[in-house]
């Protein structure tokens, strides 16, 4: 990735994030029921959006990798999985931090949090596969397959978990997530925060992706050198 583009993106991310932080902590009115703690919402929801979108990206990269070949698709998928995992973890942490003051427990099995947790486990499986096995095209193919299969499963997970929680209403009231925002300022803050986190994701993705690209290119060069050495008869 071109350095200037990366830096420009980084700069833009910083600016929008600062604006978002200002809006969240200074501008938006405090919500009546939950008080100040509710502001976590403006971090929690964008992180969730990014985590799920990133997962879709892993799957799409996987499809292209299986279809077209090209190491670049595998690098993209792997980078998206790593960065996505980061944001997914943040969703769970912010969710937990939100739950404690409001409902008194560190964890609730409400439908959205549960679905995110399952997603987190899927990410974990993907990353564990890549970490435990070596860096061969075969493993990259396996990663692609898992990414695709997991992404196909997510809608089914969402539906089944929602049914699960509807039939047996949770002890705790379901969190409102994104609906019933009375004040227009809350909507604006949410959207800006969404933009900020999306940019942050894009920037981190770009960083990680270019690292992986560099590594792939180095490997390709090393392979060429090894072949040349073989040709010449070096040890």
């Amino acid at each position: 990735m071109a350095k200037p583009l990366q830096n420009a993106l980084g700069g833009l991310t910083l600016v929008v994030m600062l604006i978002a932080l200002y809006l969240v902590f200074m501008w938006v009115p405090t919500e009546i029921d939950q008080g100040i703690v509710q502001r976590i919402f403006y971090f929690h929801v964008p992180c969730a959006w990014v985590a799920f979108a990133s997962f879709g990206l892993v799957a799409i990269a996987g499809i292209f990798y299986l279809w077209l070949g090209g190491q670049i698709w595998d690098d993209l998928g792997y980078a998206a999985a790593e960065v996505g995992m980061l944001f997914c973890t943040l969703v769970l942490i912010t969710g937990s931090l939100w739950a404690k003051p409001i409902w008194g427990t560190w964890w609730t099995w409400d439908s959205r949090l549960t679905t995110t947790f399952v997603l987190w486990l899927m990410y974990g499986g993907y990353l564990m596969l890549r970490a435990m096995a070596d860096d061969s095209p075969q493993i990259a193919r396996y990663g692609a397959v898992i990414g695709i299969v997991a992404a196909l499963d997510v809608p089914v997970v969402i539906i089944s978990v929602r049914l699960w929680r509807t039939i047996h209403p949770a002890v705790l009231v379901t969190r409102q997530g994104g609906h019933g925002l009375e004040d227009m300022r809350m909507v604006v803050t949410l959207l800006v925060s969404l933009a900020a986190f999306t940019l942050l994701f894009a920037w981190l993705l770009m960083l990680r992706f270019s690292e992986l690209r560099m590594r792939s290119r180095l490997n390709a060069a090393a392979r060429e050198i090894a072949i040349a050495r073989l040709r010449v008869g070096a040890a």
Partner: protein
Amino acid sequence: MAAPVIETHALGKTFGLAPVLRDTAFRLLPGAAAIVIGGNGTGKSTLLKILSGLVAPSDGYALVFGEDTRRFSPRYRRRIGMVSHQSFLYPSLTARENLEFYADLYGIADASAAADSWLERVGLADFGKERVRTFSRGMEQRLAVARAMIHGPSLLLLDEPFAALDTDGSARIRSLIKSALDEGCSVLATAHQPFEIDDVAFDLYEIVRGQVAPLEEKEEVRRGGRLRSLLRPRSS
């Protein structure tokens, strides 16, 4: 001249950072017999795996029966028979059951008859009902050859067919290879040392620094002084 059965173009294979084969240009004509010689780890097995379509090359490509091995259609896989280090036999099944299974798999018309006839041909007719687990290495190898040939392939790929066989076992395998050649099959075998079969002229090749090259006459003389018998090549 007939189209070659095997033709490779700048074929190469690298595992991770270790190149095994490179820039290989090799040809096998229909009805011909060739031996590729090399020590351990020189890429003999890899070459066969690529030619059979099991492994994709890293560089270049190979054409078998005119078709790119990367896109190997079932039609062409049907025409190949392979004998490997591994026997491809199920130890808990009997010899007959193994052959019948593979005959079924390849869609042979009368699988039991084919199984019986091949047991006969490889001299294992009396052992048809024995489990492969109980077989000696020589018997296993004979059965493996029967398995590879039961579907009537036009190309036989043999990976070190005589490894760990005694004189008697080797003799039997030799005659099986000869009868395959007599039936018009093309044969490509790999080995540590060149081997001979009466009335068969093999083209000899060697893997030198990852490339398949014709075996140099003087190279061989230097190695042991044994002269290669000069027989007219089968195909001109």
